[in-house]
């Protein structure tokens, strides 16, 4: 930890982020309802549902975009806000459906939900509502566990595994639309058939780039990059197929390598910077000394350190980690 630890509150960035998102959602809904035709309730249902899908696509696109271009990182740090807004839209869609198509029946809306959308024995008419319900349940689970409290309570690996469930939710939504609106020829089904492949393509692209980097990093001592690639006070991240990623920092003409994962909540240390002579995590400001990966006293967190060598202008990294807190003499480069 560090004396500089700052719980992330409502910063200006977060307020702007949410304001843009809410404005975008408002513009989408207003445009949909303005240009659409039909009864108000059906329009509202379709506007909310399709907007939730578009926003969910955007949420899932942020990860690969940030891997391809670091300037997208601020969007990644606040991605949970977009996820919660998506969940609210999806819940609004479900409530509107329950309050319209499933209302005014002798059956309670939730009972009606279970008995009305039955199979016809053919693919056309295959129940599509259960897939939407499954997606909504996942989104609600992710939204309610999105706060840092749950990240800490569940531990980062469990929390991350849980939140990968968003991809299952996305798949269910695609099936929900494919069996419903798509067969009806609704225009927003075209959004799904365009946006979903784009999203898959974006993931494949960023994954391919990462695979190439990892493949290049399989040798015992690996080329981490040119000295000139590492900016003062910043880091480059070297990723491996079967080991933790490593962050190589430059500070006052010396290089030091530590684990890329913060000991607090697995935050991306390599995306942080050196402040007051310490590596500073971009998530919550946890700090570590460059040479031994230890948090400054009285704090006790430690990171694994790594050995570095200079060959000409190339920085070579030994990917075998030292025990956390092991002192490694920084590599003088200038």
């Amino acid at each position: 930890m560090s004396h500089g630890y700052v719980p992330v509150g409502w910063t200006t960035s977060k307020k702007l982020y949410d304001a843009v998102l809410l404005l975008g959602v408002g513009m989408y809904l207003a445009a949909f309802v303005h240009f659409g035709a039909g009864d108000d309730q059906a329009l509202r249902i379709k506007a909310l549902g399709s907007c939730a899908f578009v926003l969910l696509t955007l949420v899932l696109a942020i990860g690969p975009l940030a891997r391809l271009d670091k300037r997208f990182l601020p969007l990644l740090y606040n991605r949970r806000h977009a996820g919660v807004i998506t969940c609210a839209l999806a819940a609004g869609h479900a409530v509107a459906v329950l309050g319209w198509y499933f209302a005014y029946s002798p059956l309670a809306p939730l009972d009606a939900l279970l008995v009305a959308d039955t199979g016809s024995g053919h693919l056309r008419g295959f129940p599509f509502i259960p897939f939407g319900m499954a997606a909504l349940l996942i989104l609600v689970l992710l939204a309610v566990t999105s706060h840092d409290f749950w990240l800490s309570f569940l531990t980062p690996p469990v929390w991350k595994a849980l939140h990968l469930g968003v991809y299952a939710a996305y798949g269910f939504v695609v099936i929900h639309v494919a069996l419903g609106a798509f067969q009806q020829g609704d225009a927003f089904a075209v959004e799904v058939s365009v946006l979903a492949p784009l999203l898959v393509g974006l993931h494949l692209w960023s994954g391919w780039r990462e695979w190439r980097r990892r493949k290049a990093a399989k040798a015992e001592w690996v080329l981490a990059g040119a000295v000139g690639d590492i900016a003062e006070g910043r880091a480059v991240v070297v990723r491996f197929a079967d080991a933790e990623p490593v962050a190589i920092f430059r500070h006052e003409g010396r290089l030091s390598a530590v684990s890329h994962l913060c000991a607090h909540q697995n935050g991306p240390l390599g995306e942080g910077r050196v402040i007051d002579g310490c590596i500073t995590c971009p998530w919550h400001g946890f700090q570590y000394r460059l040479a031994d990966g230890c948090a400054p006293p009285p704090f006790t967190e430690k990171l694994a350190t790594y050995r570095l060598e200079l060959r000409g202008l190339d920085v070579m990294l030994d990917p075998r980690p030292n025990p956390p807190g092991t002192y490694v003499e920084p590599l003088v480069v200038a």
Binding site: S13, G36, I45, R71, A116, R124, A187, E191
Partner: protein, 254 residues
Amino acid sequence: MSPADFFVGWDRRSGSANFRFLAVVAGVVLLVLAVLGGVAGRFLPRDASLFALSPLPPAEAPIDSVTLRGRISLRPVATVFVAPDASHPRMHSVLLSGDGKSGVSLAGSLTDGAMVSVTGLLLRRGSIDMLVVGEPVQPLAEPAIDVPAPVSLGRWRVAGEICDGKCQTGVMQPGQGLSHRACASLCLIGGVPPVLVTAQPIAGTQFFVLASADGSAPPAPGRLAGLPLLLEGEVERRGDLLIFKTDLGRAMLP
């Protein structure tokens, strides 16, 4: 991106260069959302059924507190036949339903063919009228009016969609298609008369009361509601009421 432009989650704001980049991203996101919303809404099918090739007549405004006196028929569905007038020279047939997604509630003592007085909200669309009965159906002690004998208009193979009669008369717009399937299914479970909407007019209409091949109410039509179907059956006219008698077990999904 210089170190000064790097965003830190707990900083008050990101660096100026990154801020400019993010401002452009925000503008693009806003533009894309507005355009996507407009396009999706604009090109939403006006008529959600794949088979509704022929435009349906628009629903007329409901008329509240209408009282009808006529002869009730319980087969295939609860219908009141009102004596002919200038606008309905073949008699005026009005389907009956209850409030919400419920069929009309009739006293057990009410017999098929009795004269009754019914009051409620009149829904109209094309050739189909429905009364949402708001008060108990009153039997009348008067001689029953004559209803013309059923006339067969021949066997037909039609493309169409099964819906509940209430939504087709204008309660829902468009009240068709897969998105409306569960709603229609609930109405049919609740006892609202089933209606077949054909892709092309037959005998001048696209609305037919759906019946089994023997003329009784069809069993569980809700499972096929909202789907484009190919059906074969006999069209029958009773007064101005057109009935499509078919075996739903032989319905085909194209």
